[in-house]
């Protein structure tokens, strides 16, 4: 099977010309399809920049990044937006649910953006919410939910359109240990279904055990990749 993600000599810098601050200094990375890959490292090491490039929401400077054999460089903005809409799901530390929409409406967004009729989108969203354990909160506003419940909605939103890649930024940092573990169990049981690939950026050592592999980053480079937390 082709790898899901192949990054070669990836570089990215921020700031004005002449005063550039490098964030990625030649990243080489391969993530297999169906793998749960975690990126760990200190703040400012380039983790978020790397998943932003992988998710196709940030342009890199040099190197190549191929997602499911598609070269991100070869796509224009419109193609990349469409590619993201079909193939990438997002989960954020702060959930980022739209506060004025109900759980079902929030979950429907990726489907509606992919042209699914509203009634069908709502039905599929309700089904997805039931799968993540929120069958009793289908028409609830995000502000009426606990942090763990909001993150479940965010996961449902990331999964509902059946993307092949999910990128997560600190998905358990705002949650207590028990809720964080429940969320990770959900990722393992629901998100990885059908050979889906997960890339999770985290500081949270409590969840390292759920990873298939862990990439350790420092100063814009992946310094090593390990198979279990005990090797860190």
């Amino acid at each position: 099977m082709d790898p899901a993600i192949v990054c070669t000599n990836l570089t990215k810098s921020y700031g004005p010309k002449g005063n550039l601050t490098p964030a990625l200094r030649g990243i080489d990375l391969e993530v297999k399809a169906g793998e749960l890959f975690m990126l760990v490292g200190p703040s400012g090491c380039g983790k978020t920049t790397l998943i932003s490039v992988i998710a196709g929401i940030l342009n890199h400077d040099e190197g190549t990044c191929r997602i499911f054999s598609r070269d991100l460089d070869a796509m224009d903005d419109g193609d990349r937006t469409e590619f993201r809409g079909k193939n990438v799901g997002f989960v954020f530390q702060a959930y980022n649910l739209i506060p004025t929409l109900t759980t079902t409406e929030n979950t429907s967004i990726p489907l509606i953006l992919n042209g699914v009729p509203r009634a069908e989108a709502n039905e599929r969203s309700r089904e997805m919410l039931r799968q993540v354990g929120l069958g009793s909160k289908l028409d609830t506003l995000p502000t009426e939910l606990s942090g763990g419940q909001q993150q479940r909605v965010a996961i449902a939103r990331a999964l509902v359109h059946n993307p092949r890649l999910i990128v997560c930024d600190e998905p358990t940092s705002a949650l207590d240990h028990t809720t964080g573990s429940e969320i990770m169990e959900l990722f393992r049981h629901e998100a990885l279904k059908g050979g889906r690939t997960l890339v999770i950026v985290t500081h949270d050592a409590r969840i390292f055990q759920y990873a298939d592999r862990i990439g350790v980053m420092d100063d814009g480079r992946i310094t090593r990749i390990v198979n279990s937390p005990s090797e860190l």
């Binding site: 929401i57 419109g78 993201r84 809409g85 997002f90 980022n96 004025t100 990726p110 930024d169």
Partner: protein, 379 residues
């Protein structure tokens, strides 16, 4: 998203409604005032041409002519008939001894051409009775009404048979007429030409206007040119005289600039409130717009969302503003408030509010175009 945020939604509607209200109301009052300057011309629709001294600048700017000018105008080719009209200010003495300046209109004794447009009571023909006058309804109920025994007592409206004293002359009210309010809002008193010139202070010349009818098939402009060439007088059609009067007021009074400032301020208030509120709405929601963009929303989808929301606000706001202005129009009907809203004013208001929403939208779209979806992973 905006509708979900009720506070900002209502703030924007309030901003547009306020703008719409100010623009509509101030413009309508301005047009109302301007139309009052030509109220007398409105009420005198029969003549095709108004003939006057060429130095006259507007309809109330009376420069009397010699009576012989009437005969000269009657002799111009193309004139079917021509009648004299007196228009001047005469003081009326009220029953309590106070004075009220009245606008006295003296009609041709034989034809009574130029008489009041609508009679509330009495008949125009009764002006042929001795010392007779017709008084306008607003004056009969207000400025010329008979005072009560004490200043606090209600006034008694003038009615047929009541007496007036015009410049020491006895006058009998034979009718009450409904007239278009004039700019100066003075009582209007109709009588015959000969009686009006008797009421008026003595002057060598007393003929204010000559009202002329053009023969069928004759060109108004050509006849006016002939009148000017043969008599040295100016002859205008009613629209021309209205235009002359309105131009005078526009040019020589502070009315346009004062109302223009109010309308301009209304527009700026709208831009400020709506622009600021929508700017903060966009800024507050930049993260969510970024998320939508990251999840695959193309710019045109975000544009549509923003345009729909701003134009919904624009439509609701301008509707509410114009609705309140229209309500004012209904409430103030027949009052001293000069309020006249021709169809052009709502059109201008809609254009102004559309411009505000368009400016706001363009600014918002510019932010969305520049929005990087990478914002979603920033702290």
């Amino acid at each position: 998203m905006l509708i979900g945020n009720k506070g900002k939604f209502f703030a924007m509607i309030f901003g547009v409604a306020l703008t719409s209200l100010i623009i509509t109301q101030q413009s309508s009052i301005f047009v109302g005032l301007m139309s009052r300057t030509v109220g007398f011309i409105f009420d005198t629709p029969l003549p095709d041409l108004w003939v006057m001294d060429p130095k006259v600048q507007f309809v109330d700017d009376i420069k009397p002519m010699q009576d012989t000018k009437l005969l000269q105008v009657r002799g111009v080719q193309g004139v079917e008939w021509a009648v004299p009209l007196y228009k001047g200010s005469i003081r009326a003495r009220l029953a309590n001894g106070t004075f009220q300046t009245c606008n006295v209109i003296g009609l041709d004794d034989a034809t009574l051409v130029g008489g009041p447009p609508t009679m509330v009571s009495g008949r125009v023909a009764d002006l042929r009775l001795a010392d007779s006058v017709i008084v306008d309804e607003a004056a009969a109920q207000g400025k010329l009404a008979k005072p009560g025994p004490t200043p606090q007592s209600p006034k008694t409206p003038l009615k047929i048979g009541d007496l007036l004293e015009l410049n020491d002359n006895r006058a009998v009210v034979v009718g009450i007429a409904r007239t278009t309010r004039t700019f100066q809002s003075q009582p209007i008193v109709y009588t015959t030409y000969s009686r009006a010139t008797r009421f008026a202070p003595r002057e060598r010349k007393l003929l204010s206007f000559i009202l002329a009818k053009v023969k069928p098939g004759e060109d108004f402009t050509e006849v006016a040119r002939r009148i000017n060439g043969q008599t040295g007088l100016a002859a205008y059609t009613a629209p021309q005289l209205k235009g002359l009067t309105i131009r005078y007021f526009m040019k020589n009074t502070g009315i346009p600039i004062n109302f223009g400032i109010a309308v301009g301020l209304g527009f700026l208030v709208g831009v400020a409130i709506v622009g600021q509120t929508f700017y903060s709405f966009i800024t507050d929601n930049m993260r969510y717009l970024g998320i939508l963009k990251a999840m695959g929303a193309k710019n045109n989808v975000l544009f549509t969302m923003i345009i729909l929301q701003t134009f919904l606000v624009g439509a609701l706001g301008s509707g509410i503003g114009m609705g309140i202005a229209s309500l004012t129009s209904i409430i103030s009907k027949n009052s001293e408030l000069a309020f006249y809203m021709p169809w052009q004013i709502p059109v201008v208001t809609v254009l102004a509010t559309t411009l505000i929403t368009l400016l706001t939208t363009i600014f918002s779209l510019w932010k969305v175009i520049r929005l990087e979806p990478g914002i979603v992973f920033r702290g």
